[in-house]
């Protein structure tokens, strides 16, 4: 069964450092999402891509967060500089361009010290 791949699974970094997360969606899925999930809360959208284009980044803190999906396949989410409040699970999800079902990867657990 096809799955969304994410790496690393865990990341510990000091505040003010840069950190990057990688996501490889299910093959053929044109839409890719990055969500942030704070412990005890539901996921919240950071950015949505349709192929290589950003569809929605209204909730992305653009002063420190950036995301790209250069060839419309895999994607990278970067935080620079990391802050203590960025500690969370970062989830990637993908879907076909007109489907409803979003499939999530295992996430990257970020701890900022």
């Amino acid at each position: 069964e096809a799955e969304v791949a994410q790496s690393p699974r865990y990341k510990i970094t000091e505040k003010s450092q840069a950190v990057a997360f990688w996501c490889d969606p299910i093959s053929g899925h044109a839409t890719l999402y990055w969500y942030r999930q704070i412990l005890g809360q539901g996921p919240e959208l950071l950015v949505q891509f349709q192929d290589e284009s950003v569809v929605d980044d209204s909730q992305l803190p653009k002063d420190r967060f950036s995301a790209e999906r250069l060839k419309g396949v895999d994607s990278t989410l970067k935080i620079q500089p990391a802050e203590l409040g960025d500690s969370a699970m970062y989830l990637c999800a993908s879907s076909t361009d007109r489907a409803n079902e979003q499939y999530f990867g295992p996430g990257t657990r970020l701890t900022v010290t």
């Binding site: 005890g40 809360q41 996921p43 949505q48 990867g105």
Partner: protein, 115 residues
């Protein structure tokens, strides 16, 4: 403004019981309502989903009941098992010109099924 409100926050049932988790939404433009199951340290997994044109959908032991006029929907787990112990999230999204938008999640319900 919380667009999807989920209750209860936590729930404990005995094996074989029928836990019920409720969600209410505010935006009448929402047209897709999935439920996700999440185990600790894992990503959410899609369980079952419903659209507003039906009032109930059943898949295995999981049933969604949908009340469009009340803007509410609920998840029922029949014959619950200890392996169902997880956090459950309801969500909602709306269609933009033929493509589905991002999911708005509830805050989750931590379910514990006692043996």
């Amino acid at each position: 403004q919380q667009q999807v409100k989920q209750s209860p926050q936590s729930l404990i049932v005995q094996k074989g019981g029928i836990p019920i988790i409720n969600c209410a939404y505010e935006n009448t433009a929402f047209d897709y309502f999935p439920w996700y199951q999440q185990f600790p340290g894992k990503g959410p997994a899609l369980l079952i989903a419903i659209r507003p044109d039906v009032s109930e959908k059943k898949e295995g032991r999981f049933t969604i009941s949908f009340n469009k006029s009340a803007k509410q929907f609920s998840l029922h787990i029949m014959d619950s098992q200890p392996g169902d112990s997880a956090t459950y999230f309801c969500a909602a999204s709306k269609n933009y010109g033929g493509s589905q938008g991002n999911l708005i999640f509830g805050k989750g319900t931590k379910l514990s099924v006692k043996p």
